[in-house]
Symmetry: C2
Subunit: 289 residues, 2 copies
C-alpha cells in the first residue's frame, strides 16, 4: 500500500546525525527546500519494501540459538508463502537444524541487490524475527509447493527423515532502505502489503536511465521534483510509484523525487512506459512554462 506519510528520502541524515557536507565519500546530499511546493508523493510503505525484498530472493541468513543460547548465523535457502511467511527446510544433521528443533526462536535477514555502481551500504535490507513452526494440513502442502518451486533440487531431500519443513511466524519486522531510510512495520501490515512488480527490473532501469537518458531525467526533475532549477539529475532508485533522484542545483546538491503519472502494475515494460510518459509530460510542462 502506498504510504505518503513516510518520512521523505533523507539519505545523509543517519541516525540523527547530519553528515559533514565536505565528505567526499558520500554522493548523497542533505536535502534542500524545493522551489515549488509538492503534494505528498506516494511511496512504497516499509511493509511493501519488506515484502518486495523477501519476494525477490531465495537465499538469506538465518539467526538461531545454539544450546547455550548463543546466536548462530547461517546461510539458507527459503521460499515464500502467499502471506509473505518464509519457508525453509533444515536437516537436524546441521547445527542450525538442531538449534531450531531445540528453540524455535529465529530471525532472517537479507539485502536487496544494489544498482550497479552504487554503494553496497545504501541497499534495502530487511529483518524478520519470530518463531518457526512445522506447518500442518493445507499449509504444509502449500509450503512444500512453494519450497519446491523456489528450490527445485530440494525435492530430492525435503522428505528425508532428518529434514524439517518450517514456516517462520513473524513477530517483528525491520526494514532499512539505505542511509537514513528505515522503518519498522507490523506483521499485519506486512501480510497485507503489496510486492512491487517492478523490483526485478528496477536496477536495470536505473542503470539504463543514467547511462542513456540524462536529458530525460533532467526534464522530469525540473518539471516534477520541485527543483525547477536542477542542472543535472541522477536516478538512485526506481519503484512502481516513481524515482528517487540525486540533483545538482545552483543552490546546492539535493535528493529529490518524481512521481509517475500512474502507479506501475506490471513488470512487462511497465517502468519503461512510466518513464517515457513522465518524460513527455515533463517536456510539455516545461515548454508551457
Amino acid at each position: 500500500m502506498a504510504d505518503s506519510t513516510q518520512a521523505p528520502f533523507v539519505p545523509r541524515d543517519m541516525g540523527g546525525h547530519k553528515v559533514p557536507d565536505n565528505s567526499p565519500a558520500l554522493d548523497y546530499p542533505t536535502p534542500i527546500e524545493p522551489l515549488v511546493e509538492l503534494p505528498d508523493q506516494p511511496r512504497l510503505s516499509a511493509a511493501d519494501q519488506a515484502r518486495t525484498i523477501v519476494a525477490g530472493d531465495s537465499v538469506c541468513v538465518l539467526a538461531s540459538l545454539t544450546d547455550d543460547g548463543s546466536p548462530w548465523a547461517s546461510v539458507i535457502q527459503y521460499a515464500v508463502l502467499e502471506d509473505g511467511s518464509p519457508v525453509f527446510s533444515l536437516s537436524k544433521l546441521a547445527l542450525h537444524g538442531r538449534n531450531l528443533a531445540a528453540d524455535p526462536r529465529a530471525s532472517i535477514a537479507l539485502a536487496a541487490p544494489v544498482p550497479e555502481g552504487q554503494d553496497q551500504g545504501d541497499s534495502g535490507r530487511v529483518t524478520l524475527a519470530g518463531r518457526v513452526e512445522e506447518p500442518g494440513g493445507d499449509e504444509r502442502a502449500a509450503a512444500k509447493r512453494a519450497y519446491f518451486d523456489a528450490i527445485p533440487w530440494s525435492e530430492t531431500y525435503t522428505d528425508f527423515a532428518d529434514f524439517t519443513l518450517y514456516v517462520l511466524r513473524i513477530e517483528k519486522i525491520r526494514w532499512v532502505g539505505g542511509f537514513g531510510r528505515m522503518n519498522s512495520t507490523t506483521p499485519e501490515q506486512y501480510k497485507n502489503a503489496e510486492i512491487d512488480p517492478t523490483a526485478a527490473s528496477a536496477n536495470h532501469a536505473v542503470k539504463h536511465m543514467n547511462d542513456d537518458h540524462a536529458d530525460a531525467l533532467l526534464s522530469m526533475a525540473r518539471a516534477f521534483s520541485g527543483h525547477s532549477d536542477a542542472t543535472s539529475a541522477v536516478v538512485l532508485r526506481a519503484d512502481r510509484y516513481g524515482m528517487d533522484l540525486a540533483l545538482e542545483t545552483p543552490r546546492g546538491r539535493t535528493p529529490g523525487r518524481v512521481t509517475f503519472l500512474e502507479r506501475v502494475e506490471d513488470n512487462n515494460g511497465g517502468l519503461r512506459k512510466a518513464t517515457v510518459d513522465l518524460t513527455k509530460a515533463a517536456r510539455e510542462a516545461l515548454s508551457e512554462a
Copy 2:
C-alpha cells in the same frame, strides 16, 4: 594451506544421504571410480575457503541477541583485519548495536558469489561465531584503517559517540562449500590460512572456460581427472590449485578434478596461465597415449 586430506568432492552426497539418481533437478552426479588412480589432489582447506569468502566481501548478516535472548539477524558492512578477524561499526541507536552492547555474543554469515548459471544452493558459505570486543591501542588503529578502507563513507560516522567499533573474536568456524562439501575448522587454522588470490576472477574464468573452451576442458579431464573416457566436461569451480568438473563418461556422469601444474600465486592472469599450461600438458599427454 593446501589440504590434500580433505574429503573429495562429493556433491550429491548430502548429509549422509545419497541423492536419487533419477533426480532431474541436480546436475551433480554421484562420483564413480576413476579409470586411473590419482595421487592426492591439493585443495583449499576449509580454513582457506573460509578466509577467502570473508576476504571477498564487505556485506554480511550479523546474528545478535535481543534483550530477551532471542536471535536477531541484520545486514551489516564489515572489514577484515590481517588475521581474518571481522571488524564492524554499529550505532547504539540501532537494535543490533544495543544488542551487542548488552551481550557480546555474535555470529556472522555470508555466501560467496555463485558462477553464472549455477545453483544458488551450491555456493560456498561461512559462519564465524564468538564474541565482539572493542579493540584498543594499535589494534584499534588497524581496525579503523581496515574499516575505512573497506567502507570509505564510514569515516563520516564511525567517530560519532553512538557508534562502537567492534572486532569479532572468533571461537567457532563453519564452512560449507555447497552440496556435501563442508567442514569445521579452528580459529588457529583460520588465522593461519591463506586467501586464494584467484577468488575474485574464478567465477569469470569458469564462465569463460565453459562458454569458449569446452575442448580444452575435455582434454584436461581426459588426461588428468582419472576419467580418461570422458566425453564432455563442464567446470563447476576454479581455485588456485585446480578445477572441479562435472563429467560425462560412457560409465555414467561423475564429478572430477584436475590439478594445475603449479599453484597460482596471483590474480593477474594467473588462472588464465594455469589453464593454458594445463591444456598444453593435457594435449601432449593425450598425443603420447
